[in-house]
Symmetry: C2
Subunit: 315 residues, 2 copies
């Protein structure tokens, strides 16, 4: 049986979505805590609890990471994750109460489906229940935080393609995994770095051929691009034992995988944010190896996301 992101010891993944409203959220639970880090590089992020993840801040372990649609409204879904964790007595022990630490990041999907229905606390709570109750191979495509994700926005909504949610894992040794889980809603095109070809992105209409976002940009130096709202958000995770500082380095290096899979990446229209988690249920590992393969897993997860959301791409 092949391994998946869901096999990383210490993690559980759950999704919840509103198919009619075309939005949703995805939670990565780490009930025993995982050392957390983050690198935020896009120009238009929507985030929660990112500051505490950085070096020189007290808290080391997080109990869940939430990826969600709904733009800034969607941050409310984290309240449901916090509630679920509190009910399960999971959190940072302050002596007075266990305080769940739930970093979160949003993507903009208000232009797809209903703009007035967004992931809320109930949906975040449901994603946690699904994380515990569901098993089997990882779900990908138009699910969870990827439900309303679209890619290739430069020519406007009509030229976009489905983005989606994807994951990947790389086995670095008998007991050592590094994986990535991403919701892909990028302004740019998705590229296969093994061939340099565009896999998904902005299409010219009516012919439906790829416009090549870089070429469109070149023609429009003065600006005025369509930007209905974008952002790639994800989690890279390993069962290795790494310090908080090194987990942040892994989050940083993972952005290289995003850069290879998306062109252009990290624009002012994207809120690109990557969380990193180390569940410490495996061996110590060299940070450069984990970071380098976190980038590889990121590239593969992004490709898997668009392939699953638009199955015709894999034909």
């Amino acid at each position: 049986m092949s391994i998946s992101f869901n096999d990383i010891p210490g993690l559980q993944v759950g999704h919840a979505q509103d198919i009619e409203a075309v939005t949703g959220c995805t939670v990565v639970l780490c009930p025993a805590g995982a050392v957390g880090g983050v690198d935020q590089r896009g120009g238009a992020p929507g985030t929660r609890e990112t500051d505490l993840l950085r070096p020189m801040h007290l808290v080391e372990k997080v109990h869940a990471v939430l990826l969600t649609g709904g733009s800034a409204f969607g941050l409310a879904a984290a309240d449901g994750v916090v509630r679920w964790l509190e009910e399960n007595q999971i959190g940072y022990d302050t002596g007075i109460a266990r305080v769940p630490i739930v970093p979160a990041a949003v993507l903009f999907d208000l232009s797809v489906g209903r703009a007035d229905v967004r992931p809320d606390a109930a949906m975040g709570y449901a994603a946690c229940q699904n994380a515990v109750n569901e098993s089997g191979p990882p779900k990908m495509g138009s699910i969870g935080a990827g439900t309303g994700a679209r890619v290739g926005n430069i020519l406007g909504p009509a030229g976009r393609m489905n983005g989606g949610l994807g994951s990947a894992v790389i086995e670095l040794g008998e007991r050592l995994l590094v994986g990535a889980l991403f919701a892909v809603n990028c302004f740019g095109d998705v590229i296969d770095p093994a061939t340099g070809q565009i896999l998904a992105g902005a299409r010219k209409l009516p012919e439906q051929t790829f416009a090549d976002t870089m070429q469109v940009l070149k023609q429009g130096v003065a600006g005025g691009f369509s930007s209905p709202g974008n952002t790639v958000i994800g989690v890279v995770a390993t069962n290795a034992t790494l310090s908080k500082e090194m987990v942040n380095k892994v989050a940083q290096m993972a952005h290289d995988g995003l850069a290879r899979a998306i062109r252009p990446a990290h624009t002012m229209f994207d809120g690109d944010t990557i969380f990193a988690l180390a569940t410490e249920q495996g061996p110590a590992a060299e940070v450069n190896v984990i970071g380098a393969f976190a980038a590889e897993a990121t590239t593969q997860a992004i490709i898997n996301a668009v392939m699953a959301a638009s199955p015709s791409l894999s034909a």
Copy 2:
């Protein structure tokens, strides 16, 4: 006549090197000042005057950027650049004196040639004179800061290949250029993102075939890699008019070009640092376009650096 990095209005490039000691430095002069920014992402940098480049700091314009060999010792070459600028009455006007602003970054080349001879103030001064006196197409390969540059360090010094200095420019419109100038001394392999193939990097001996650094890393999760010292340093520049904040965004996006051309990039062994300059001698421009093509120019400059330093690669 084809255009080059040296054609960006407001910039002059000069090199100086010690061929016997196998080290050198490269200066990008901007006598009329250029709005400066930086993004530093490698784990082992050696830099000077990077803090003032960031948003929320007083000084907006820099007068030169120095790329140099010699590890931390090489920062002394910036003193010579400062002296040359002072003699030419170029600097930030404090009312008391014109203070030249010269951000600099180093690469580690002490393991090549003589370790006890490093770029110094005299060499930095000479690079400025060469910037003013020389003309013609840009010099690339084993010159200036690229003199002692090597790539592909994971199997130790014997398996390395020449890195070098390279530049590239992209014309975005009749009067708008964006270019990149890089000294390539990376831990990882140099990749052609159009094909996914390794162009230069660590070689297995004696067969001299590429080892593929990612594969070597995968076999060595526990660490213990050779790391004689690495780092990719560069400047991306445009004649567009951009705010200091946006120039920093351009430096950030340029790292995507580094990520695409080098695998792995941004390791703890690399001090990867990219400066950005906007000479404001051209039109206003959309920051996402400049950033996206700064990344493209970065990729091309890195490829040009290794191609020029090891001409057999282009065969």
